[in-house]
Symmetry: D3
């Protein structure tokens, strides 16, 4: 287990020593002002990123064969530069397999994944539609897919994205979907919940989460909407006597879930369940963005009456944390 | 009470007689091909509209002094023209006050208004925030306002709009709001529900529902967002020691509930409750449009596998009634 | 074979008799002013559409069991109404299978389909990439798919759309693609031509051309981009050792060929061949629209110096037929 | 009175001493490379902003209790860094009330405010409409509001914005409005001028100009359009027998003056006076932006034939100062 | 001189005879229900348009050789059809040259053209810039161009467009331009007024006003912006020693006067005079549209408190005539 | 001839001496931290740009009278700063006329200009339309214009733009135009090729390529579309009996070639040749952008399977070099 995290280093004094595992996010050859080669690295773990410099790459204590995406063990000291801390690296070796856990190296959901998964399978068990139930059971019987579904982030980028993010988002949507299906008798509950579970399943192949979160080349060229719809289509084709109408509806929900053509859905939602899915998906994503932004303000000790920074996913809007502001100065 | 409705007339044989009350929606002077003056009327009741013609306006059995907006009693016969039925009118007089109920003349909610109102006051009673509770109680203590709130349609136009439509929409939103407030601990439940109840309150003066549903001149020039925010502001100003923060938040929710500047909100939602309100408002309006469209297809006996017509409020999209289609041919 | 076409009827005198086969495009029950039921039909053949009326549907010479989409044999007379001609129908029966050819009933390409097909297979034969060659050969070895590909229109609607339209459009694009691939060494010629051949293949299931040209329900909900990409993906999956890179590129071309998200492509073109395909597809469609519009002006005897009507697919622009205008008054 | 301004400091030699009053715009705790804490300040006065550093915050000559927004007296020396000058601060204390004038600390209009105010009241005196005259007289009888109206900037941000900017903008519009009302007999002159005077009155509470120019929290959540319309509505409500029609028109002008929904007006201009107001407001704002940009080029000694930088409020357009260019090289 | 106008015919009784001159706007060959050929004409004069039918085109009293654009003398009788009046035409001959005045046949400005022209030349005389003065004097010394400038409409279409409309619009703009140039010292008055006079000069060749108002083919393909800039460029090229800077500025004003690329200006206004011109041009056009709409409401006896119809050039907005509404019920 | 290029300097060791000719792109007076004046220069040649510093501008070996746009001979040494190399300049003098070739100082086409020009004149020789042939021959008989046409870049900015770029782009378009004219019989080949040759001819005066590539003031205010159309119009006016129809068509092609109003064309393409020109122009520009981007990736040794950076002219899209990726790892 790691015992020193990047978040800790910020408070280190100049020259303080450390020794820990990190993920290599960027590796660059550079030349100093005095014309000597050095390595500039960006290292990451679940708490953030930090710049590290190897001033003497020819030193035998520095491994030669590591690359972006490798986990390395690093020994060095803190070095302050303006407002930031850098790492001066004296030793570096590639970590052994399993010497450190992946969940220490990338940000992860704060929920218990096993518990989230139990909730998901609980929803599937509750289905009265036997075809949709066996579709989901068959898909998740593929243990590799199920594992990827538990691990995948919901989006690229080191912020607003974390291991288990996809599952966390789906569980939140299932709760909303259950309420909404009760509210509007028009809606077929099992179909809506199936759409919720499958809408982003293509992300297990669109994204990779080995060294940071990135798009795969296949993901860039085909997108999770296509990848997910093909995954679902193949699963339905293999199930004996899967009703063709239901197949068309499930695929339509995956294809249309972005809600607008300009957001990359090749079809607009044309059934009530698809309309509901696209609204809930957008709403939950925005509520999560707001939550993250409020958490950030609290971490940064911003006053309760100050607006957040401009939130990218909300058209650069600034927001106010109502509850915190109303509570402020109350007692 | 009316015993003959416009929906009934469609099935009348040529020349069949009738005698009933209607609302005058349009009154036009015209001249026939043979150069004789006649009256062309559009008459309405809660079931629809029909064209009526008075071929001899000088007949003493035809009242001279009625206008658009009046309720009239009409005697005449059905007359088929191409695919439509018209009324040939032989007698016409202005109705006495209370001779017929307004709810027979304009489309109304299918719910029991008293019951909807009880639900509304039940929600207010459940508030733990005493300031928001007394704000709503004070507003609805104004019996004229409360009555208008129970009667108002949610929108102009004879379709998708009906007496009690505003209240029906608010009750549906309160149910959704309750679920959503439980789902996201971030949300202040009483503030969200207050925003739901007040967001469209300006419609009680933006719209008139005397002769059909129309914009008042004040409504056209100022809009329900301004009218509603002033209504709420005045009420809060009169309450002793109403917290200024809460006042700003309530007004912000009314001002921002259309969600986008181009939809007429002068401010974007900047607090989580306003964001939730704008999503739910849009979602509920669209689900109602879908429901109305599906009902229309059933009334018109369209096959279950045929798409609806193009739905104006959904970007001219066509929709499929999932449940009906899946059930079709099942037994 | 039909010997009387709808285009001929326009010049018939009042009351002139005729007797021919037509496709039933619309069938409606109506009631006359005198309250008698009659049938209003819209009948079509390859030359256009015409309205027909059965004034006495109970006549034993009128079949009872025909529906929209049926081919019927009709006997009646021409009847002029304002500027239009209608059919007054005295006899009507459902045609026997094969009593008339489908190509007489729907508009068709003016090219020889067998010749177009030979050109298509010629292009495939010329491929130097063995994988793309066997992909296309395998697909068209499915005789049902090949037949649909030869028959399908390129778009819905009775104008700008005809049997064989898809194939005609593909052949035109192959000619352009060949030139462009020579012009830019950057382009992989076989990959570009494969994309051209497959880009609209999903239309064979998105559209139906039995009774006029319409969207299938599956086509409305899933779209030809999804349907086509799944068709291609399945074919590649079945080919032993089909290179995964090539598979991704072929699918990317189908997914991105509309060129913009708002035109229904879930991905923008990200390889040179996809960029070229989306430009050529758009350009050829517009040149065909211009050609059709100019042909229409000539048929309608518009003067050479008069602009066309507003062309829908060119932003309601009006156009001038350069060659015709320059030639006008030359001799 | 201040005798040294930030604009002067730019020409100081390295190490030159100074001693003056400034406004604290930003105050940050930082740590140096050698791990010692220091203060980084941004200080402002009416001529600009400058960075200042307190390298030893524990020095007893440095006040401990000052904050952003305070006026401070500072003693130190100039320090050149690359192309910029910084202040090295040796002494710092909070200024006494009235030790320095606010107009020395924030940019101000170059016009005489008393004279602008006389022009404003002159226009009001000239009104023939008694109701609009007493409306404006009543509003400005509130001396706090009148004072704020004389002080407020027309917009946020240290450039294009200055104390008295709102009043200066209103006076310019009144001149234009007078001409336009004469030109178009359609226009009600007093109504147009009333709209001009009141359109931005909400800015007195939307903005604060204590420490730089900023949005108040109320201003961010409600906006000057709402705040101003409520201010006007309340004033009219208090006037006995104020004509309801006039009230609606005055409010409509405030609500619609941004001219487009997407610019934050909840209503489009629907009366000729509102249409004129929205045009003139936009035109005068742009002419001021152009003037400021030309002044900046002259200050920076740009050649007459060189375009300005990209002007943000004119879609990043570059402009040419016609008169200066035509005069250039003339003599 | 004409003594009967189309506006008069509306009140004629069935069969009333008339005899007058009209312009042939449309001429169509048609066939009646009984299969007989007849002519359908649309005839116009300065008061409007009317449909006319020649039921027996072979009658010797009906001229054979007239075409669209000809002036004809027509004798016939009024015939009512539904709400409209038609002309039944018994005699028709082509008018002799000068038998009737063009200003009787097309709508014209209500101002005295000679007086407008004197105002225009007065402005030019007042110029202090000798180059701009000789440019305009030279242009209008071309009597054909000057005559066309006095006659041209400001836009196509029979409404909002009339003979002399261009000159009327320019005179209105000159008045505004004079005021604005005084208001902003930044502006070069003579340059602004020159831009106002020349901005739409290309319309003299873009439009034709012989038979109604239409685009010429050259106008459709090149547009008045190009035509006008070439007209001005040629005139400047012929003037000895015309300053090149001034030439560029004059051309820039013509090219940029639509204010936005999407409105057909190939350049955005980049000098203050061009910015002012584009604002004033847009503003004056809209004020005229409002005036026309209000006049129409008065002609149609709409109540003062009723909004106008949707105004096309103001985004389908409805407007209120403030002065008329405030006066309504005052006495 | 230059023997040292900027691209070479990147690999120089610290302090290595050099001596060569460069173009002065930027010249700035600055002051160092120690308050001493120095010169900061940006110098360019055909291979790129580099920063150069004159630490002692008073040194007699440093010329005093050079300006932006001058060619200078510079002697100095390489100096590494972070990742970049700068020039420390010890001697600097203005170059003599013709001491160095312009093509060494600005990036140029990699094609042989004489050969490109032969291709261009070959196309003109092949015309069968005598009027279009003499138009082009007359234009290029103006040797100054012909020379400018051979030198001009196709766009501003040091990248994607080079001497001869306009001619290179036109030759590429002529090849495409020839193919397309054969493909669509609708197209008048000589007219299309004339449009291709003339569409950007205004760039010879819109741009200057003396010191880098910049817009002229005339170019900024009038644009190449106007400048080019006037150039063409004048040439046609001088040709005896040039057909007016052809003149209108040629001008229309120049005016409309950007394809959309928002891209600066005052007219949309309304003839088939103009439509084809606007498509091909856009397509060729994008294919060149893709080619440049791929070349850059190869120069930077990016792996074949990595996407390019975001390409500005393709909506910030990233692209994949298909051929290189497919070839990667093949052998």
């Amino acid at each position: 287990m790691k015992d020193i995290y990047i978040a800790d280093v910020a408070s280190f004094n100049e020259g303080a020593l450390f020794n820990s595992f990190f993920l290599v996010l960027v590796k660059q050859q550079r030349t100093s002002k005095t014309n000597k080669p050095y390595l500039n690295l960006i290292l990451g773990d679940k708490t953030g990123q930090i710049e590290g410099r190897v001033w003497d790459p020819s030193d035998p204590r520095i491994a030669k064969d590591f690359e972006k995406g490798d986990v390395v063990k690093v020994r060095g000291s803190a070095s302050h530069f303006d407002d930031r801390v850098q790492m001066k690296i004296d030793q570096l070796r590639v970590a052994l397999p399993n010497e450190v856990e992946k969940s220490d190296l990338l940000p992860s959901t704060t929920y218990d994944v096993a518990d989230l998964w139990r909730q998901l399978t609980g929803y599937v068990e509750s289905f009265t539609n036997p075809d949709l139930k066996r579709l989901l059971n068959t898909l998740f019987a593929d243990s590799e897919l199920a594992q990827a579904f538990r691990e995948a982030p919901a989006a690229k980028g080191l912020h607003h994205a974390w291991l288990g993010g996809l599952l966390e988002h789906v569980i939140s949507l299932l709760g909303l979907g259950e309420s909404v299906a009760k509210h509007y008798p028009l809606l077929d509950r099992d179909l809506l919940l199936t759409g919720i579970i499958l809408h982003d399943i293509g992300k297990v192949r669109e994204l990779s989460w080995v060294s940071g979160f990135e798009y795969t080349l296949e993901g860039s060229l085909l997108g999770h909407i296509h990848i997910g719809s093909v995954l679902a289509e193949r699963a339905m084709d293999k199930l004996p006597d899967f009703p063709p109408k239901l197949k068309t509806l499930v695929l339509h929900m995956i294809l249309s879930h972005h809600g607008k053509l300009e957001f990359g859905s090749p079809k607009l939602p044309m059934i009530p369940e698809a309309l509901a899915l696209s609204f809930l998906d957008d709403f939950d994503a925005k509520m999560q963005a707001v939550t993250s932004e409020f958490d950030k303000c609290i971490r940064e000790n911003k006053p309760a009456g100050e607006l957040t920074g401009k939130v990218w996913s909300l058209d650069q809007r600034q927001l106010l944390n109502t509850k915190r502001w109303l509570d402020d100065g109350r007692d």
